[in-house]
Amino acid sequence: MGLNPELTRTRLTDLGPGQSGTIDEIFLPPEAQQFLTRFGLYPGMEIRFSRSAPMGDPRTYLVDGAEIALRSETAQQIFVIQSHPEDAP
């Protein structure tokens, strides 16, 4: 419905298999944000959903050449601009 249909802002937890996006904003305390930086989790970085742990949570994502697992409580606070919303299942 926006001007640019390709720019959909969602929570990281909303990304599913095959979906990726660019980190837009992180709503976590500064200390937590600082920590996430170490793993390449900061605005501007590309991130791609990888898979879920057998019990559904944590989920893993590909960012900066590495695969990292985040609990949904953390991933929920990370907002991404989704790259190809038309690929959504």
Binding site: T37, F39, G40, G44, A53, P54, G65, A66
Partner: protein, 626 residues
């Protein structure tokens, strides 16, 4: 706008590079490179006044020795953390006792260069000649990554080389770099970057200039993960791996430990006739040798456990195990990385506590260290089996499958586990509450573990166990021996009752009578501070029976001297109490203070006392009918 400034050429007229510092983010392969460069000629100590280890070594290149300082892994040089402060202080020559290095080797993981390159700006800006090493070049190339190192070097104003610390490629670049004279480094201009966002922008720009193409995710790791993290197969593989480790540690480790114990025993007996003086005989064999071997017998099991932890860690499976168990561990306030250490604690708390090093969050790590000794370790089994055999009649509970004795044993395992969980819950909601730092787990690529790396760790862990635990255990063994053999009675060692330790046992009897214990049990509790299973030998001596464990005479002697309620109270006491000098010594080493082992000892002893008290009185009020 970034301000440009000129960097002064480093240290003036020194003849050639004498010392070089190694810096890089954690997991950049820095330690592997350090080991490769120094070929293990290294020293480990602590920086004065802080908990950070100081690694230094010597590397030989072109027939010349250069000293190498390994700095702690850091993500930036903004001195927020102790690690970063140490790095800044050493690089600027402000660290007491560490002369300023002549040059810097900056190690970055080429496969995650986007974020790792942000460290380059502040490090190069320190003004020392710097060689940038893009490590893991083998993986980087295999996964289709590309970078023009010459262009990157021009942008950074510092030489850049692709290396692989694991495979040992690219080391000639280090050699060439170290042959230069310190003053010959050309002055370069770099922007001064104040904020993290600016550094990231700068790094992104550098990458673009150097034609960086990020590597693709490792395809066979992803294929393997599809299986290992599968909804159905994942947990099954996980349980299979855990069962295999345990089966080996107990099935293989227990007999090995027994055999090793026999060897130690035989050695003692061989030496026995060589020592004529009875006093020295007793001191050396009964005091030192017996005490130290009672702890040494655990070495095979500990090493076996380390071998498996090492295999799990180096292959990359450990992170997957943490991912699978995170959901469960979270319910007690811990994270998935605590799972394997706690599991190891069922064999022995010593390797378990050392294995907590993989938990980066300090509070989670300390909580794990504090609850690990509640897990039923193998040193508790001798006293458990002795008391259960002596006091619990064998009756079927679930047909032929499960009897009363097996139930009692399982109950003790469960008891330790529940207390550990409860303790973790209390700690994590109070003193060790996690801050804002979220749980992030990196899933490394699967790799074949190398014998070199695992063997190295085994040697290191064995040395720590022998040195750290050995010195303390030696002292405690000597003390127990002295108390057992003094005061001399007509020049002869006294009967245990008249010995100092016997008197201490009698002295504390009023204190332990409410638990249903007599002074002999009290002496057993005192001697078993060396290691839990020592109580069996002590009781055998006190009751004048053959020293073999589970011996029938000892069982009947105990049956006459100890009530059923008292025996159950003693079991509970051993389930909770911190009767292990090695664990205390290792906790001290890992937390670098006596504070935590002291708290742990007091807490566990208090819990043991209260638990035993309650069990004794409850069982006296409501005696069970078998």
């Amino acid at each position: 706008m970034p301000v440009l400034h000129q960097i002064s050429p480093a240290a003036q007229a020194a003849p050639a590079i004498q010392s070089v510092a190694l810096i890089g983010p954690p997991n950049s392969g820095k330690s592997t490179l350090f080991n490769r460069l120094t070929r293990l000629r290294q020293k480990v100590g602590n920086y004065p006044g802080i908990t950070i280890e100081h690694h230094s070594g010597t590397l030989v290149m072109g027939g010349r020795e250069v000293s190498l300082i390994d700095l702690p892994g850091v993500y930036s040089l903004t001195p927020y953390s102790e690690d970063e402060r140490v790095a800044v202080d050493v690089l600027s020559g402000k660290m007491a006792g560490v002369p300023r290095p002549d040059a810097v080797l900056l190690v970055l993981d080429a496969t995650s260069l986007t974020r790792q390159l942000t460290l380059a700006a502040p490090v190069i800006a320190m003004g020392l000649p710097t060689l940038v090493l893009l490590n893991m070049a083998d993986l980087f190339a295999r996964r289709g990554g590309e970078i023009d190192t010459l262009k990157l070097a021009r942008e950074l104003g510092a030489p850049v080389a692709l290396v692989s610390a694991v495979e040992g490629t690219g080391m000639e670049a280090v050699e060439r770099f170290l042959q230069q004279k310190p003053g010959t480094h050309p002055p370069v201009q770099l922007p001064v970057l104040s904020g993290a966002a600016e550094r990231r922008q700068w790094a992104a720009h550098m990458q673009k200039q150097a034609g960086f193409r990020p590597p693709l995710p490792a395809s066979w790791t992803r294929r393997l993960d599809a299986m290992v993290l599968h909804k159905v197969w994942g947990p099954l593989i996980f349980l299979g791996a855990v069962a295999a480790v345990f089966q080996s540690v107990f099935g293989l480790g227990q007999p090995l430990s027994t055999a090793f114990g026999d060897v130690l025993n035989t050695l003692g007996q061989q030496a026995s006739p060589l020592i004529s003086n009875s006093f020295i005989h007793s001191l050396l064999l009964d005091g030192i040798w017996k005490g130290v071997s009672s702890v040494l017998v655990f070495l095979p099991q500990i090493l076996l456990l380390f071998l498996f932890i090492g295999l799990l860690e180096d292959s990359g499976y450990l992170a997957r195990a943490a991912l699978i168990s995170d959901r469960t561990m979270r319910s007690v306030g811990l994270n998935g990385k605590a799972f394997i250490p706690l599991l190891s604690a069922y064999a022995c708390a010593v390797p378990a506590i050392m294995a907590t090093r993989t938990i980066e969050n300090k509070r989670d790590r300390f909580a794990t260290i504090l609850i690990a000794p509640f897990m039923t370790c193998s040193a508790r089994l001798p006293i458990y089996t002795l008391l259960i055999a002596a006091f619990i009649p064998e009756r079927p509970v679930v047909g032929v499958l499960l009897g009363t004795r097996a139930c009692a044993m399982l109950g003790l395992y469960l008891l330790g586990f529940l207390v550990a969980i409860a303790t973790a819950g209390v700690l994590k909601s109070s003193v060790l509450k996690s801050g804002a730092v979220p749980f992030v787990l990196e899933l490394p690529e699967y790799r074949w573990p190398t014998w070199g790396s695992i063997g190295l760790r085994l040697v290191d862990r064995a040395r720590v166990f022998l040195q750290q635990a050995g010195t303390v255990i030696l002292c405690v063994s000597l003390l127990v021996w002295a108390l057992t053999n003094l005061p001399l009675h007509n020049g002869q060692p006294p009967q245990l009752e008249q010995s100092a330790i016997g008197r201490v046992g009698q002295f504390i009897e009023p204190l332990i009578r409410p638990l249903g214990f007599n002074w002999k049990i009290g002496v057993g509790l005192l001697t078993s501070i060396v290691a839990r299973e020592v109580i069996v030998g002590t009781l055998a001596t006190l009751y004048g029976t053959a020293p073999e464990t589970h011996s029938l005479p000892l069982q009947s002697a105990l049956q006459q001297d100890l009530s059923f309620a008292g025996a159950m109270a003693l079991l509970v006491f051993f389930a909770f109490a911190m009767q292990c000098t090695s664990t205390l010594a290792v906790v001290r080493r890992e937390t670098n203070s006596w504070k935590w082992p002291a708290i742990q000892f007091l807490y566990m002893t208090a819990l043991a006392y209260i638990g035993a008290f309650l069990v004794y009185h409850l069982l006296r009020m409501f005696p069970p009918v078998f």
